[in-house]
Structures are given as C-alpha cells and as structure tokens.
C-alpha cells in the first residue's frame, strides 16, 4: 500500500529551524512505522537520523511522537496508525533535538540516576552462599515497574515535564518504585526524600498521559500514586 509520511526534520549543520519532510513510499500494512522510516532512509534520503536497535519494543531506542502520541516506532504497525493514507512523525517533546528524531537523552538519564536506581541492602549475605529468599507475593508487589525500558515515552508525554524540565518525571519515579517496594531493599527513605523535594513526585498532576504512552503497559500513574501514598502515610505497603 501507499503511505505518505510526514517527518519533522532538523539537521543542525544545515537547517536554521525544523521543517516537515514529506515522503511517498510503498509499504506493507503489517510493517512497523520504524520500517517505513528505514525505507525512507535507505531508499530516499540517507541523512534521516533516528535511533533504533531491537525493532520489537524491548530496547527502548525509538520513542517518537507518532500522529501526536508518544510511541515506539517499532511497536506500532502502519495499519493501526495510517489515517487518510498519512502518518506524522516528530521527535519526543521536552528534550533538545540534536538531529531529526534524535533528542538529548542526558537530562532524562540524570533524573534516572537521581533516585538511586539500584538495590541497597547492607545485611550480611546468606551464610549458605545462596540467594536471599523472597516470597512470591513480595516479588509480585513490584513486578509491574520492573518492565520499564527507559524509553522516555512517559516522561516526554507529561505536561508537568514539558513545563519544567527539572521535574524528575514519571520514568524516574517508576524506577524508584521498583526499589521502594522490593522487600530486599533498604533505601526507600533516601529515595522518598529525593521524591518529596520541589521537583519530585508532587509535580505529578495525575494527567495519565504517561500510562497511555507506556509501550510496556506499566500502570505508571498508579505507581506514582503508590509513591505519593508512601510519602503521605510513611507506610510502604
């Protein structure tokens, strides 16, 4: 089938400001939007720049704004996105564009690093040299937030983040949640302190854009709510 692809282009070495590149290509309706972008790059204009790797929704490289909504280009099919023969693709919002679809991810990862995204447990290791024990229910408690692939779809769909880039953002809160609710972890209070600051969890206005944007189906707003509740009540449950 025919596809008219509108891509927001910007090459800092040539362009003063972004413009819309328009391309007519032949695609299969079961192809991914990523396949269409690669088709443009490989057959029409090699200068098109985008990040991509696994191409099946796990590595988190190709977050983009597709028809106005944050999606992984490799996880939406042309048949589901095409409207009147057209699909529109732009870089995600709130991070500086470096070239075409490529944005500066460093502020995003700086927020990630700020929440202590690693297990902290100072107890001695089991004497038998084996694994720590954890019940099935305790493991299940934080299962949803272990799915996060750090693609930034959630954070860059959030109006609070657009308004203020210092806001730690949904992805970092999801990462904090993954450890706060892990029964093996002992640094919940330190993380909650970070998240109680002015650019912490209270900037969330419960808009639910993040949950809609998450390509991994994580209930992001719910996770943020649980962190807020932990801060409010002092109880981690």
């Amino acid at each position: 089938m025919k596809l008219h692809l509108k891509i927001k282009r910007f090459n800092p070495e040539i362009d003063k400001k972004p413009y819309w590149g328009e391309y007519d290509i032949e695609v299969d309706e079961m192809d991914r939007v990523l396949d269409a972008l690669q088709e443009v790059k490989w057959t029409v204009d090699g200068t098109l720049a985008l990040r991509r790797s696994c191409a099946h929704g796990i590595c988190g490289s190709d977050a983009m704004r597709i028809n106005g909504r944050n999606r992984l280009a490799c996880k939406c099919l042309i048949k589901d996105e095409i409207k009147n023969g057209q699909i529109t693709v732009e870089p995600i919002l709130g991070l500086k564009v470096q070239k075409d679809m490529i944005v500066d991810m460093e502020p995003f990862f700086a927020h990630y690093r700020s929440v202590l995204p690693f297990l902290v447990n100072k107890d001695p290791l089991p004497e038998n040299g084996r694994e720590r024990l954890q019940t099935i229910a305790d493991r299940e408690r934080f299962d949803d937030t272990t799915k996060c692939i750090l693609c930034a779809c959630c954070t860059t769909s959030c109006p609070s983040f657009w308004a203020r880039g210092e806001y730690v953002g949904p992805a970092a809160i999801v990462q904090a949640h993954r450890f706060i609710f892990d029964s093996r972890d002992q640094a919940a209070q330190e993380r909650l302190e970070v998240l109680s600051e002015v650019d912490g969890v209270w900037r969330c206005r419960t808009v639910f854009n993040c949950t809609d944007a998450c390509p991994r189906g994580i209930e992001v707003t719910k996770a943020i709510g649980e962190v807020k509740a932990a801060l409010r009540t002092g109880i981690i449950a």
């Binding site: 800092p12 200068t47 696994c54 796990i58 070239k99």
Partner: protein, 597 residues
Amino acid sequence: MAQYHQFDALVVGAGGAGLMAALYASKSVNTAVISKLYPTRSHTGTAQGGISAALGNLEEDHWEWHAYDTVKGGDFLCDQDAVDILCSGAIDAIVDLEHIGLPFDRTPEGKISQRRFGGHTNNDTKKAVMRACHAADRTGHMILQTLYQNCIKNKVKFFDEYQMVDMLIENGVCNGVVAIELKTGETHVFHSKATMLATGGFGKMWKITSNAHSLTGDGPATILRKKLPLEDMEFYQFHPTGVYRMGILLSEAARGEGAVFLNGAGERFMERYMPTLKDLAPRDICSRSIFKEVKEGRGINGKDYVYLDFRPTEINKYFEADGNPKRIDAHYLETKLPDIIEFARVYLGVDPVTDPVPIQPTAHYAMGGVPTNTDTQVLSDHLGHTVEGLYAAGEVACVSVHGANRLGTNSLVDLVVFGKRGGIKMAEYAKTAALRPINQDTSHKPGEAELNKLRQSNGTERAGAIRKALQVLMDEHVGVVRTSAGLQFAIESIRDLKTRFANIKIDDKGFKWNTDLMEAWELGALLDLAEVTAVSALGREESRGGHYREDFQNRDDAKFLQHTFATMTDKTDKIDKIELNYKPVVITKYKPVERKY
C-alpha cells in the same frame, strides 16, 4: 585532532558481558565503557526465557549434568575445560546477580524459580530438567538493567553512543581503540593497558533474524582487518521459533512451559525426529526438522512455516499424552510468557491463547567469533598465542563453550561467567602492566582516514540495497542447510557485493549524528564477516550442530573434531584472501558419541 583518553581497563560494548566485566574491573582499576548504544539498549535486554545454573531448587541437578548437556548440545565441538568453568561458575554468578538485585521469579519456598529448556536434562533419566532461572520472559532485560544499575552504583565511567572504528593493535599488542562520538562526529582515542571486546553478534547479515539492527559485528570485523583469526564462523545458530516473516524471537521457554510444534497436517512432528526430548530437543535439531517438514510439503498450507502451539487447552492434552500431571490455564501463560504472547498479538495479530502461532527458523546467535583462551585473552593464532592486553567475552568471543550449537540459556551464562572472569583478569593485568606508549598525533589517523574516505563516497550504489541483497543471499545459501555449490555461489556473490560496496553513495556528508555513514561502515563489517562465514562453511566438509551440509551429512570426527581459524591474510579492493587453519578441540572427560535425544 582527536580527543585523548587514558584508562587502565577499557570495555567496548555495554551488553551483559561488557557490563559484567566493567563491574568487576572497576572494583580495583580505572575502567571505562564505550558503547555505540545507551547501555540499556544492548541486545542482552531482549533475551527472554532464562539463564541456567544447576541450583537444584525444584528437582535434583548437578553442574556436571549441565556441563555434559552443554558439550553434547554443542555436538562435541566445545572445549571441555571452558565448559567446566562455565557450568560450575554459573551457580555463583547467578547467586551474585540475585544479591545485587536481580528480581528473579520465586518458588513457593522463596528460592529462585527454574523452568525447563531445550537440551537441559537429568543425565540419569534423560528427561528435561528445570534448570533455567527466570524473571518472567524478560530475563535478559532484568540482567541488563541490574548490571547497569550496579555500574551506576559503582560509578563506572561510560562513553555512551561512541562507535569503535579501529583498534590500536600492533606487533601482537593492543593499546586501545579509536572511536567516533556519534553526536559530534569527533574522533576519540582511548588508550588503555587492557581492552575488552564485548560488541556482541552479527546476525544482521541474514534477512530473517532475531538480531537488532545494531548487531553488525564491528568487533570481529575489526579483528579480521588486523589480520587476526576468527574461530568457528561456520557455526551460526538458527533458532527454530522466530515470528513468521519478521524473525522476532519467541522464547524456547514457550516449549519449556509445554508448547509444541505442529506441521500443516496438524501433526506433532518432533516425536518422529527425537522421540525422548521431542519439542525440547536442541535448537539446531528443531530448526532442521522444520526445514525438512517444509521442504517435504508439510508446512502450513504448503508454505515455508509451521505452527508453535501454546494454547492452554492443547498444552494440557500434550501433558496428558506425555503422562505429565501438570495442567495450566491462560492466566498461567500470561504470567509466565507475557512478552512473547504480546509479540504474537502485536506483530502477527494472532492470539496464542486461542490460535497456534506461525513461526520459522530465525538467525539468532554466533557460536563462533573472536577466539580466546579460558581467561578471555584473545588468541592471535590457532597455536594458542595471545594478543597482549586484548580480551573478549560474550557473543563476540569464542572460548569455546557453545561448540557447534549453543544450548538455550547458555548465552546469558556465558556473559556473566566469562564477563566476570574477563573483568577480573583485566584488572589483575592492568595492576602490574605498564601503559605502553602510542603516538598521540597519528594513532587515530588510519581509522579516521578510512571513515572520511567513506563519507566522501559519491558512487551510484545504495548501502541499503547491498545490505538487502546480502541478507537474501545468506538466508538462501548460508542458512540452516548448506551445499558446496550454494556456498561457492555465496562466496562469489559476496565478492560482487563488495565490488558494489566500493561504489556506494553516502548522502550525508556531515559529522553530527551521521548515521548514514555509520550504517555504511557497519555494512562493510557485515560483508567481510559474511565472506569468512561462507568460506569457513565451505571448508568444513561434515555436518555438526548448527552447520549442516547436504553433501556431507555425517559428523566426521576423524577429520573435523577441531575448530576452524579463518584469517584474512590480504585485503585489497579486488579480492580478500582467507586462510583456514584448524585447532584441536579440548577434550577432558566427555568422549564424543552419537548425538541422540
């Protein structure tokens, strides 16, 4: 002028092996990681079903059983000293991962949960054993995340989105690498005492592949151009269950949980090929069986695919037929295999809970690669000499623990065991070795000049078209089943493609994020590796593990119980000369026998 950096230990690649090495090296020496992707984008993250270790959490198991299964799975081409290190080391490595935070699924007692996987057996009863430790079907994702988290905790220095384009190897010594900062296009020299290649595989030379776009063999191609050998390149694994037409992997864990293959007649055909393990036979055998079913007209509707059936109602029937008391339902499957169920729904529009899923073999994993000894030091020849200061671990390396066919889950075991071992060895070396001088003004020039020449290419060919032609060629002639005529045709055709590659056009003449240029450079790497793969395959006149020759259908231990070492002795614009040498397999306890399941 290139930017200059200096480290004791340098790791190239930030997947499981690279991060594990960095984590251990950084405990005692100044360590940096360079990676062309953000570390969490690495392909380790897509590994699904599990990582094996004989923990025995759910039934009796021993690391010696794991070792024997690995050797037999590898059709006796594995170096058995390395396999013992792998399987005994797996237990501690996996316990380590749990200690640093990996959220494994749990047993009712709270231990790490384990499941069945292809070729992993109780050596007494010959039945499948629960050995694969797992976190749903995103085990690789959890390994990658956990290792990255701990690298952050330990303040490992990262250079994200830097692509290696040359290595500083001279007179049998490695002094670091040359890399391009993708954001700016600037050249950087990384000068180091110890350097580890952990750049992963090169599955993008095939069309139907589970591999990421980034898996273009940058590391092994660079080694090849330094006139150093690559080992066992003819052994490439075709995983039996790729999503039809796309190649996206559907984990063997599906069959571990009870799924089976069905042909066009609705027959559970693996019973005919391997009566004991059936659908849990190793991957090479399953892929060949699918190939045969399709060739003999028993694909679905006579086409080139079969079904993977994991409908709960059907799985329960298969359990009953096998005398297995276990019964499952849709909820159980959705918990155990959420990602692959979603892949089938998203990419095929098929719901595995109600319908069987169309699958075909998909190019998946390189058993061969950069040869190393058991301390992960890179070998400079088939006699066992090493390149000083150079290490390799993970898929890029061939130690060789996978032999002619890797068992499921053992790639992750390899990453953590040999990544850790390599990190420790690099640190030991860097603590005593002196930094060897390099010429800071000129050392980056060859790599930079090659890239600039490519940037200025103004020919008539497109890299995309050459890549596509290569992939179709490799699928057809260097795939699951090979012949002498097909391989010779492939070699000639790859040489033609190289000629076309010399006439390409690069649209992007800039420096910032020039992915047009980098993709072309990667294609050059794939072309070299494809040629070596085909030449190595032509040289091996036998069938063993993942290498099946229609014209030499039997394993020939008398002639080929040895590893292939392929060296590109001369690289010119016209033709590359490839020389083959052979190195005997290390055999300790396990005598080669016929491989039956």
